[in-house]
């Protein structure tokens, strides 16, 4: 396997909800992203996937634990090392309208992004043209304002900005969720091509497992601040071990009427509980059909089914009869 570029080591991120409630958005997560690979991070709202992504690019500092980039702890970086870390780690946001300054042309947005990293105006301008082209926008879009272009074009501008500093690592946080079906496919293909041609490392965050399957070979599933399963996509989709992964897979509506009518659903009870009031034991036990007393009392540790398939569950699914 490729060597590790970005690593989360026991990362927790806590938020104070009010005087006596603390939300553990990310709770003691260990994760490695291999150089030149794309790791998919899947979960529902409140699972902590965005917080984890933001922590890995440095938009958040971990409350506990540390983030390493190229094997070195990023905490306390300053001066030229901090500038380099910022250039090397970039993010593409979900909502391209909210991520672009409405009073600035999209060209100026990219130029400004480079200027704060110390580029001269002339260099920044020619670089902006270059990355616009790579993101599939002709140079005539440079003087346009965000409201003058379509959602897909705005997301292309957001991607152009992210790749402008030639980063080694990109977090794409739900980059296609705000887009229409026909545009979504265009942006997925663009990100995939850029990742391959530039040899970038990417963390691709999404709530949509079918999108993730097309973007990443390796997929991590998050639930209430924890990674509950991590495996190559084939393994995860065909033989998931965690009941939550199984439920997620079966809840996705398939665009196929015949299969939709006949398929068996594993319905989950209720909804994701309040992350400020996580109960003891396994955090999925309140919704899990396989939960026992053990699950109510003891938090399952991450175990390895095979060298590349990790899961955190006391009662993993058995595929020996169906395989």
């Amino acid at each position: 396997m490729a060597d590790t570029l970005v690593e989360a080591i026991g990362v927790s991120r806590l938020y104070r909800a009010n005087r006596n409630r603390v939300v553990r958005a990310v709770d003691h997560v260990d994760m490695k992203v291999g150089r030149g690979t794309t790791l998919g991070l899947v979960g529902e709202s409140g699972s902590g996937k965005s917080t984890l992504g933001r922590t890995l690019v440095g938009l958040q500092t971990p409350s506990l634990g540390s983030v390493a980039f190229e094997g070195q702890d990023v905490a306390g970086a300053s001066g030229s090392r901090l500038i380099r870390l910022r250039q090397q780690r970039q993010i593409v946001f979900q909502d391209p309208s909210g991520a672009l300054n409405p009073r600035m042309t999209i060209g100026d947005t990219v130029v400004e992004h480079l200027r704060v990293q110390g580029w001269t105006r002339a260099d920044a301008r020619s670089r902006a043209q270059e990355v616009f082209e790579q993101a599939g926008l002709s140079r005539q879009f440079l003087p346009r304002y965000p409201h003058e272009i379509s959602g897909g074009q705005r997301q292309r501008a957001g991607i152009a900005r992210a790749i402008s500093t030639d980063p080694a690592f990109i977090v794409a946080d739900e980059p296609v969720s705000a887009l229409d079906v026909s545009t979504r496919a265009q942006i997925m293909n663009l990100l995939r091509d850029l990742q391959a041609s530039r040899g970038m490392t990417m963390l691709f965050i999404s709530h949509d497992l079918s999108v993730v399957a097309h973007m990443c070979r390796q997929v991590a599933v998050m639930y209430l601040g924890r990674i509950v399963e991590l495996a190559p996509r084939e393994t995860l989709f065909r033989t998931p071990l965690h009941p939550y992964t199984m439920a997620l897979l079966s809840a996705i509506p398939l665009p196929d009427p015949a299969r939709e009518r006949t398929r068996q659903r594993i319905a989950l009870i209720g909804e994701t509980p309040d992350p400020a009031a996580i109960s003891s034991g396994c955090r999925f036990h309140t919704r899990c059909l396989r939960a026992t007393d053990l699950c109510r009392h003891s938090d399952p540790p991450m175990r390895q089914a095979t060298s590349d398939h990790g899961f955190a569950c006391h009662h993993p699914l058995d595929h020996s009869t169906t395989r």
Binding site: E44, S45, S150, G151, G152, Q153, D180, V181, S182, T183, R184, A185, Q186, M188, N189, R192, H207, D208, L209, S210, V211, A213, H214, R233, F237, A247, L248, L249, S250, A251, I252, P253, L254, P255, D256, P257, A258, E260, R261, R265, A267, L268, E271, T272
Partner: protein
């Protein structure tokens, strides 16, 4: 000759215009009793505007055309008469339960308000009906939950309350505008199950508006695909998915990333975006269509294509 019973809802040549844009451009469709019609399209195609027009909830819009619900033309009704229809004959489920509910009124009162507006029940009866409705939409401990405020409930629970409001007076027609788009996928599955149950029990007709073809596949008996304010194709769900006739429908279906196949191939795309509308009177999809030719400069008529299907395309035969 046998005369078929008139459909529950018959929309004829409905157009909606705002100041200088035409959001809905002469659409026609019908919904039978007990049938769910999936109204599909991308943002800006006019699907939500269609629902709001049927509910007559659009200000500053000029409506033309007809929409017969059980023989009553919704478009021609006066405001007072329409007010009597809303909630009693037509129920609406909105996309975002957080904004569809009043944040400072207890959820039980919000449901009771619908009952009060249309039925003359005593306070005790109203409360009993409210509790019963909460139970029907799958809210546990309804006696306690009716006293909750929206912020005390999760998104899925709030959407259940919105559904309770929509079905409170047993409407003949339900308009569900992206009812699960704001919800997580596991909660979406629960709400879709609920809507399926309601649709099959009540014999009400439903117009389900969504951009998600997966949701349509599991919910709708028939599908109408909208593009740039027009319906470009309609027909039974199975046939539309198996053999789309309109190039836009085909492109839309192809561009969905499949859960279990084609992982390493590029996802097929439709070039351009919805904003690239055709000039003037031609087919609105022509600028993005690989089959477009000279004849597409005149708008294709919406014609029957056999087997209960209709399509608006010169190339679809």
């Amino acid at each position: 000759m046998e005369i078929a019973a008139p459909p529950l809802l018959e929309v004829q040549d409905l157009s909606v215009s705002f100041a200088n844009t035409r959001a809905v451009d002469g659409i026609s469709f019908r919904v039978e009793e007990g049938e769910t019609l999936g109204l599909v399209g991308e943002s800006g195609c006019g699907k939500s505007t269609t629902a709001l027009a049927l509910m007559r909830l659009l200000r500053d819009a000029s409506l033309t055309g007809r929409a017969w619900l059980d023989g009553v033309d919704l478009i021609g009704l006066g405001e007072a008469e329409m007010r009597a229809m809303r909630g009693s004959q037509v129920g609406m489920i909105f996309q975002d339960p957080a904004t569809a509910l009043h944040p400072m009124v207890r959820v039980g009162e919000q449901v009771a308000e619908v009952l009060d507006a249309h039925l003359s029940l005593s306070r005790v009866e109203t409360k009993a009906r409210t509790v019963e409705l909460f139970r029907k939409v799958g809210i546990a401990a309804p006696e306690q939950r009716i006293r909750a405020f929206p912020h005390e409930l999760s998104g899925g629970m709030c959407q259940r309350v919105v559904i309770a409001m929509a079905i409170a007076c047993g409407p003949r027609l339900l308009l569900a505008d992206e009812p699960t788009t704001a919800l997580d996928v596991t909660v979406q599955a629960q709400i879709l199950d609920l809507l399926r149950g309601i649709a099959s029990q009540s014999r009400a007709g439903m117009v389900l508006i969504t951009h998600d073809l997966g949701v349509v596949a599991g919910m709708a008996d028939r599908v109408a695909v909208m593009y740039a304010g027009r319906i470009v194709e309609s027909g039974p769900t199975d046939q539309i998915f198996a053999h789309p006739l309109h190039p836009y429908t085909a492109g839309l279906l192809a561009s969905i990333p499949q859960l279990d196949s084609g992982w390493d191939e590029p996802v097929p795309t439709i070039p351009g975006s919805v904003q690239d509308k055709g000039a003037g009177s031609g087919c609105p999809f022509a600028p993005r269509c690989s089959l477009a030719s000279m004849e597409c400069r005149t708008a294709p008529p919406f014609l029957a294509a056999g087997g209960g299907r209709m399509v608006a395309c010169w190339k679809a035969v």
